[in-house]
């Protein structure tokens, strides 16, 4: 499987490590990129019983994997990594804690603030794009578990479906 064969990536991959975060010009420390993404995806999509959760469709793992792919540009990879850094720096500026350490309401306020900026809106848009790829792409890629994303939206995939992962 696409995801299972690349588990080693979590230790050393592009967003598998940490980013250094600064606050008011001083180094705050290292923040885990994957932890930030996991919490961010849940905040963005919401957690209800009506739809699958990002965790259920393996959106976090998918994002880590797809950012390794040759068909995702270096510019996009850098943008996602920078976005994680900027999101945390905004959290520090506003509440003196990293994004994942904030309470739900505080994270909401950070999202409101960053999406007022062009980079913030683009960053959230990009995170959503990969999240929905994981939720609505073919399960052959180890995502969209039990076709839960398709079932949620009553979507009928085109036939024939892929018999092997080509990405």
């Amino acid at each position: 499987m696409f995801l299972q064969s690349r588990r080693h990536f979590f230790q050393k991959g592009f967003v598998g490590g940490a980013v250094l975060v600064f606050c008011s010009g001083r180094l705050f420390g290292a923040v885990s990129t994957m932890q930030t993404i996991q919490v961010l995806q849940e905040d963005l999509f919401g957690n209800t019983t009506n739809a699958p959760t990002p965790q259920e469709v393996r959106a976090q793992s998918y994002l880590a994997m797809i950012l390794q792919h040759s068909r995702v540009s270096q510019k996009q990879k850098e943008f996602i990594r920078n976005g994680i850094q900027w999101l945390n720096e905004e959290a520090l500026e506003m509440f003196h804690k990293s994004y994942v350490a904030l309470a739900k309401q505080q994270r909401e306020a950070v999202l409101q603030s960053v999406t007022d900026s062009r980079w913030g809106e683009s960053f959230v848009h990009a995170i959503f794009a990969y999240l929905f790829e994981a939720m609505l792409g073919d399960p052959i890629y180890g995502i969209n578990t039990d076709e839960s994303g398709w079932k949620w939206l009553q979507h009928h995939p085109g036939l024939p479906r892929p018999k092997k992962a080509v990405l």
């Binding site: 848009h125 609505l136 939206l153 009553q154 024939p160």
Partner: protein
Amino acid sequence: MIYDVCVIGSGAGGSPIAYELSNAGFNVVVLEKGKEYTEADFTKDELAVSRRDIYTPLLKDEKHIIIDRAEDGTLTRYDGEEYSWSFWNGSMVGGSSNLMSGYFHRLKPNDFRLKSVYGAIEGANVVDWPIRYEDLEPYYTKVEEVVGVSGKVTPHKFAEPRSTSEFPYTSLEENGVTQWFDKACEHLKLSSIATPRAVLPSAALGRNGCSYSNFCGSYGCATGAKGNARAALLKRCKAKIITEAFVYKLDSDASKVTQAHYYDTTLNSHTIKARIFVLAAQAIESCRLLLNSKNEHFANGMANNNNQVGKNLIFSAGGTGQGRFHFEKLTPQQQKILMEPGVFFNRSLQDWYEYEHEGKRYKGGTIDFLFEHANIIPRVMRELYDENGRIMWGEALQQKIHKSITTSRVLTFEVFNDWLPSDHCYVGVDEKVQDKYGVNVGVIHLYSHPHDLKVGKTLAQQARKVLEMMGADEIRSNISASPPPNLVAGGCRFGNDAKTSVLDKNCKAHELENLYVTDASFMPTGGSVPYTWSIYANSFRVAHKLLQTLRKRRV
């Protein structure tokens, strides 16, 4: 070995040549840059095909430089890789015809006489074609039969003359919403046209019929029903196809092309010798190859001593629009009809192919109507913003997505009108930037004449009225100067005057005895329909001329 004919490019422009000449017993080789995929390879994998674009080259390996000219003359340079601006289509055997939707319209007689009928337009290089509709008509018919075009002939005021009364293949199955459309058109006194499609409704020509997969355009066809150049022509001929062969240079003496050089995937160079060379690598890339093929006889590039190669590049002007049908306004039965997947919405309008405004006669165009593409990821992504244009998230977004996708459907329209050729829209070659092969990349100089936008907006207004009459909500349209990369033509226009054109009326280079160009680059003006049918037809026409020439030589 010396081949009778070497065809460079295996799409709609090259394949009819390979098909006709190899089946007539001539020794034909086709050089194709991409891989060969068969029906078994074509799945509806949205992530691979539509999100990661697996059928086009990586922009970090092969890109274009784009120089955009604003109306005030300001030039802005874009690196295609940096801006993810791709002009590649289907890089594979059969070319982009594998990925087309196959909405097939013929040009009209007046499209061949644009200047004579509608007059010159300031700032545009409008000319008449050196051939007439009557010259191409037999080959449109041939495409209907050999490639396979299905549909129903609809009489209307701008319908082109036909030598046969009906299409050889019956219409594809249609969604019931087409009846709402027909009714709206009746109210508005418009002629609803059943759009002809290059898709077989049932098994014929050694191919399977359509499976109504709901995923046609942008995807390869898994049944062979779509009339792509590989399934329809190359599989049914004896031409030798060399895949993953990137032709980077042509050699010539003063009057003839002598050989083509290509790189394989390991960057080893090979040479092909032939008596006749036919170039059909897509308009931009054909121009680039000619411009990169300089020698002592052609210092500015092959067939370019008059500096016409690359000039008068055109696209299809126009844009898109849409309206949404909500369950709230429909009966349960209508809701069911609306959401039926697979079956097609094949309707178009040509009532404004020509129109008058303030006493002036204008060339208009075609409006195709179709359901929004079934790809689910972009449909969901389009729901991200609220009515104030602010990005949403959380439960409110979840609910909005669910409601929109499961209780409404979008009917879209595409406007096709002429992109006027001009001095400012052309293909060049960058002196410094090279691709992964070490070959200088093409430079696309873009300019859209203001007239194009004016016509496009007029057509979009009419399309919106039809959606309104049908009861659609959220009606909008976007007519822009943005060039559609899959609808590109010109650059090697044909004509009778060697000073102002690259090719003669038979698509042979004026300056060389054995070089032909048969992709869309021959077109001096594009008409107001998608190009593929005309590319196929013209290539069959040139094949017929070539057969006559080759047979004479044999005798």
